[in-house]
């Protein structure tokens, strides 16, 4: 028998981004014992990178804003395949959750009358994003971290979960290893909350960190939970494209919110050429009106640069394909031009977008106050994830909850910028609350020792093999393939090739070998992450093949239109006898009063 250290908690939260931290705080406040596990150090999770802000209809800047507008913006952005109840709860509860952060010490930028300032973002009708310059994620994670450390939560840093342990159908704990010495740990828990973030590392060009390997998605899937909407990946329109080493790093939408415009190599502002009918009434009719909108003119409509991300990303893709791209395969994002409009433009840009200024200066030798940036789409966010109950965040397995990016439902086919950070705190809180309740109503389950033995043995196999691939090489090959075949523009034939390719990669992953000892060994960690990446890549590809239409984050060249019959269900994947099974989950009927809200908002 392998040696394990065993820990016991009432509620175990996996992931210390915004969602996991908020869940842990809530569960702990309910009086149960809480453990919190994360792969990195505390405060380093992906959430720290978020820039632009968190969406909450507080109406501090424009008092016409309220939850009903936010709700209908979210549903429209998601092309109406969102879970309406999640969108409703999110819109209603986000303001309270944001104010709570202030009570915990967050220091948001202020309005003239001393309230929390809100900024414009794509797809939001009114200025709605509470923010701190362009480092809102840092403010969020630090506030939760600094509050959480005084709540009696047991934090296990640099610990990676490799399987969920079950007692019958119910999830009763997890198996994990600690990074420093590679020792295995068992965590017993009455309820487990997954808050593991996204899957960006399945693609070559991404804004995500090494942590974004879809662990929670894969753990839940292999435990028998359902995943939905996996075909919907958000390609953010503006990632850096040059120099090569920074390709994919995010350029916040805040640049466009502050007046930045997109131009092709001919100097043309191409976004005015293609405005989707759903947004025609809400879009500026000329550049002048667009500029007024970014400066807070309430009578103006938003410039087309602030259309939803899926659309802007595709327009950029089109310009590049048509040969009107910038030298390194992107287009130009120009904020420097605002000097025509503002006296102190350079200072203003540095104040509003300090980390963007810094990032380009330091990584690309480029001064954004004088020179346009080169930008192109980057894999950013997954709308799909673990299927959960809207109110409780319970997954389809007893004892297992999920929140944040690894859960699904609120965003539908496309997420609006800023809706993730607010999602984390709204549903993080709910997950923590209901997980604590579950833990109070149920005792500990029994662990299956055979399962534990099997999983640890499997985890150690890469050390026993010789002559297999270097796990980093397999990971790169997977990323290249997903980027090329299941990326921003999809066709059936290429996706079938991807499925075949995935089979080959799986074979290589199962044979890859690692060198060195087990202490803090990134090669080994990557070998274990590979399984998760392969699982989510397959789920993405199969779901994308199944959805024979284009909607939000999914664009099919062979089915370029939106099809009404695909608006009636979500695509779900589930493991049945070791195989990935696809099915359709009908969307619940929206109550009449919410339908009325959507109609009223136009």
């Amino acid at each position: 028998m392998t040696d394990y250290t065993t820990f016991e908690h009432d509620v175990l939260v996996i992931g210390a981004g915004g969602a996991g931290l908020r869940a842990a705080i809530e569960a702990s406040a309910a009086g149960v014992s809480v453990g919190l596990i994360c792969k990195s150090l505390l405060g380093k999770a992906h959430t720290v990178m978020a820039e632009g802000g968190m969406a909450a209809a507080m109406g501090n800047v424009d008092d016409r804003d309220n939850w009903r507008v936010h709700f209908s913006d979210t549903m429209r952005g998601g092309q109406y395949v969102n879970n309406w109840r999640m969108a409703e709860l999110h819109a209603k509860e986000a303001p309270e959750r944001v104010r709570e952060l202030e009570a915990w010490g967050a220091v948001f930028d202020r309005t003239k009358d001393g309230k929390i300032l809100q900024r414009n973002f794509g797809g939001h009708r009114y200025p709605r994003l509470a923010h701190v310059g362009d480092r809102t994620g840092l403010e969020l994670i630090r506030t939760l971290q600094d509050h959480g450390i005084h709540q009696g939560i047991d934090v296990h840093m640099e610990v990676t979960v490799i399987s969920l342990l079950k007692d019958g159908d119910r999830v009763v704990g997890v198996l994990a290893y600690e990074r420093e010495h590679g020792r295995f740990r068992i965590f017993k828990a009455k309820a487990v909350v997954l808050a593991t973030g996204g899957v960006g590392r399945a693609f070559k060009i991404t804004s995500n960190s090494w942590e974004g390997t879809g662990d929670g998605h894969a753990l839940a899937y292999h435990a028998g939970a359902e995943l939905i909407d996996m075909e919907f990946i958000q390609f953010h329109p503006t990632g850096m494209v040059w120099p090569p080493s920074v390709r994919g790093i995010l350029v916040t939408e805040g640049v466009r919110g502050e007046g930045g415009i997109l131009k092709n190599s001919e100097g043309k502002r191409f976004m005015f050429d293609d405005i989707p009918p759903l947004y025609k009434d809400q879009t500026a009719s000329d550049p002048e009106e667009g500029w007024r909108y970014t400066q807070g003119d309430k009578t103006a409509n938003r410039p087309p640069e602030l259309l939803t991300r899926d659309h802007v990303a595709r327009c950029i893709n089109r310009e590049v394909k048509a040969g009107r791209g910038s030298p390194h395969g992107g287009v130009y994002l120009d904020i420097a031009w605002i000097k025509e409009k503002l006296p102190n433009a350079a200072e203003h840009i540095k104040k509003k977008l300090p980390s963007m200024y810094h990032q380009f200066m330091q990584l690309a030798n480029l001064d954004i106050t004088t020179t346009p940036m080169e930008v192109g789409p980057t894999t950013h966010y997954i709308m799909g994830g673990i299927r959960v109950d809207a109110d409780t965040q319970a997954s389809t397995l007893p004892g297992l909850f999920a929140c944040g990016e690894c859960a699904s439902g609120i965003n539908g086919a496309n997420r609006l910028g800023g809706n993730s950070l607010s999602d984390l705190i709204v549903f993080g809180k709910r997950a923590g609350e209901y997980a604590a309740q579950f833990a109070q109503q149920n005792g500990h389950g029994t662990m299956d020792n055979a399962q534990i033995e099997r999983e640890t043995k499997r985890a150690l196999e890469p050390f026993d093999r010789e002559g297999g691939d270097n796990p980093f090489v397999v990971q790169h090959d997977l990323q290249d393939m997903m980027q090329a075949k299941v990326g921003i523009v999809r066709v059936e034939e290429e996706m079938q090739e991807a499925l075949a390719g995935l089979r080959g990669l799986k074979d290589r992953a199962e044979k890859c070998s690692v060198t060195g000892n087990i202490d803090y060994n990134p090669g080994w960690h990557t070998a274990l992450d590979l399984r998760n990446l392969l699982t989510v890549s397959e789920a993405i590809t199969r779901s994308a093949i199944e959805r024979k239409e284009s909607r939000g984050g999914q664009f099919r060249e062979d089915y370029p239109n939106k099809e009404p019959e695909f608006a009636k269900f979500n695509i779900s994947v589930k493991e049945v006898n070791g195989e990935m099974q696809i099915s359709h989950v009908p969307l619940p009927e929206m109550p009449a009063e919410l339908k009325a809200v959507i109609e009223e908002m136009g």
Binding site: K44, M49, R99, E102, G114, K115, L363, P471
Partner: protein, 246 residues
């Protein structure tokens, strides 16, 4: 063009510099070189990183002896005709290769009293603050907890005063709390007694290495030192302060 990187390899017991040669291309940063070396020849080379954009503070190391973020150090800003040394932070115990045990920082922070806001200003439970009142605190809150300032501070690095001295990062943290317009807590006594602010002799080395350009010494440490002096030696100043309620 190829360059040589001398990277510290070894566990907590000790290590040595090992040379790796790898191709250098336009725009590369030190972290790219490390990743390339992992993929080519040393998959077990330990290093921390997350954001690759100077936002998370994970990738701190000493590059040619200087404390820096690996992800923000471009190779065209250093001399790569000579071997580039990459070593872990020296003020913390090594774990393996470039990873160090920074857990002490998390323990210190826990001991600093948490934020305690005054009663809300408005009926709906919210507060009013002017931007000009929060500018200073926002500067401190830019901290990404890279611990480079801790690494460079001689009180920790050379004198190992970890038990008595909290280090610049935690003075920045305390300053952010103390100067928060809503905060009502008092952390001055322990700054002197438990967190050893008196050891700081204002060399400003911490300010120089801060990747977030926080003016640690002038804006955080010196004002805190002044408060310590006020509280401990000037009963009048203390009284006035009580009335001002920060």
């Amino acid at each position: 063009m190829k360059a040589t990187f001398s990277i510290r390899r070894g566990g907590s017991e000790g290590g040595e510099l090992v040379d790796y040669r790898t191709e250098v291309t336009e725009g590369m940063v030190v972290l790219d070189a490390v990743h390339q070396i992992q993929a080519e020849s040393a998959p077990d080379l330990a290093c921390r990183w997350n954001c690759k954009a100077g936002k998370c503070g994970s990738c701190s190391a000493e590059i040619n002896g200087k404390p820096k973020l690996m992800c923000m150090t471009r190779l065209d800003t250093i001399d790569i005709t000579q071997p580039v040394t990459i070593e872990p932070m020296r003020a913390f115990p090594p774990i393996k290769d470039l990873a160090t045990d920074v857990s002490w920082n998390f323990e210190v922070k826990k001991r600093i009293k948490k934020f305690k806001p005054r009663k809300p200003d408005a009926e709906d439970g919210t507060w009013r603050m002017q931007q000009s009142d929060v500018d200073r605190v926002q500067e401190f809150r830019k901290c990404i907890e890279c611990f480079l300032c801790q690494d460079v501070c001689h009180v920790l690095r050379d004198h190992n005063k970890h038990a008595e001295f909290a280090g610049p990062r935690h003075y920045v943290y305390t300053a952010a709390l103390e100067m928060h317009p809503l905060d009502t807590e008092n952390r001055i006594d322990e700054l002197k007694n438990d967190f050893g602010i008196g050891y700081c002799n204002i060399t400003k080395c911490c300010t120089k290495v801060c990747p977030e350009h926080i003016t640690i010494t002038d804006n955080a440490i010196i004002p805190l030192k002044e408060r310590v002096v006020d509280e401990h030696f000037d009963p009048l100043a203390k009284l006035v302060k009580l009335f001002r309620k920060k």
